[in-house]
Amino acid sequence: MSWGAHQFEIYAVQAHLPRRMRGRVSFFGVWLGDFTPDFLSKFWVYGVTIGGTRYGAGLPHQWHRGWPGMGVTHTLFFGLLVSGGLWLWRRKRALTVGYALGFAAHALTDVNDSVGTMLLFPFSTMNWTTETWSYAATVSGGKYLDAAAYYSSLGLVMDLLWLGVVLRSWRVLTRDYWRTQIVPPDPHGWARLGRLMPERALLALYHATFFYGVCRVVSCAAGPRRRPSRRLPAGPVVDRPVVDRRAVAPPRATDDRPTAGRAAARARLRRGQPPVGTDGRRRGGGRSQGAVTHVCGVPVAGGGRGRPGGPGGRRTRPPGSPTVGRTRDPWPSRSGGSPGQDRGVPPGARPRPRRHPWSALRGHGSHTREPKGLESETHDLILAAVKPRHRPVVARP
């Protein structure tokens, strides 16, 4: 998802309208169209906690962008549908066109994260993505982990890009532009507000979304560095990996051990020995894969790779026994023990080779089977990183 980009793109759309459409597209329409997708779906993505109980989506990315889910609110089809409804209701071309443009801008911008949007819905429920940055709305991390992920990746660049586009067309923010291009398509709306507010407040209202976008970018990008809040990790977040392919990467990326421990682990790896944790026990089930213990400093529940309950780790239960809650092995087919055992491969049959999750990311093979029993939050994170690989990638040379 995009954070500041949506705030800036409404001005960018206004500034880059074709000449014959200038002064004929409703700013309120663009604004409403641009924010409708998130108004309809995002409240449940992060959820709310009341009395210690969290109410929200179990799989945020599925709810937000998937089908079944509210992913339909991020489709061009839905935008056209609502625009058609607006036209039938109000018969205002400026509002209808503005709404469609704003909606399309939102849906197309969201293509850039690792989950993407269903651009061809209802003909296809595939999510189209360029995977420019990671979608990191998770159950445990919530809004703040998402912000940290976004602003420690190319998401920040995206926001700055849109900000640059608007600043390059700075005239769109002037009072003259507002009077000549913004007010005429919405005369009734601005007149109604003008009965209550002075002109400077009306102009501030027009600038308010831009103001909020700038403040949000600065605060989110700079805030955690200056003072760690209770929810954000201490220290800089910019150099910390977040939910993407690095989340299942070698130990140094997401390891919570002290530096000396990491150095020792790297030395052992160079010698071909498995890494050893601070408690002296071996980490990993032979292959040295980093444990997803912390994402951006936020401790992640459940077993990561190389931990009990995690892929490649020690088995804490006999194969085939029922699993409960977070100790469930998320990827039984790739975990320790005999491969294929969990899937009922007949004795004597050749087991399938173990595949590293990265193999799909690198294009060395296909990772086509989704893991079952997705309950742990770690798994959510990993899924957010791996799942988009099933989907077609656009805009990649």
């Binding site: 501030a204 949000r216 605060s219 003072r227």
Partner: protein, 75 residues
Amino acid sequence: VADERAKVVRLDHLGSRRLSAREVALCYGLAGASYITLSIFHKWLLNWFIGPLWLVTFVWAGPALVDRVRRRSRP
């Protein structure tokens, strides 16, 4: 006539004073600085509703308050 016209230009449709460019910059700057500073420490302030309202309140109420204080402080 020139004074009348100047007075009309300085007032908007509700009779409120139009701000000079410097005043506008000051209002927006103060609003931005205060909002960013506070929202760094209190993330809940980064809100769709509070953010825009913050600016509108600063620009709307700020100059009005300053004018009122100035009027009162005049002998």
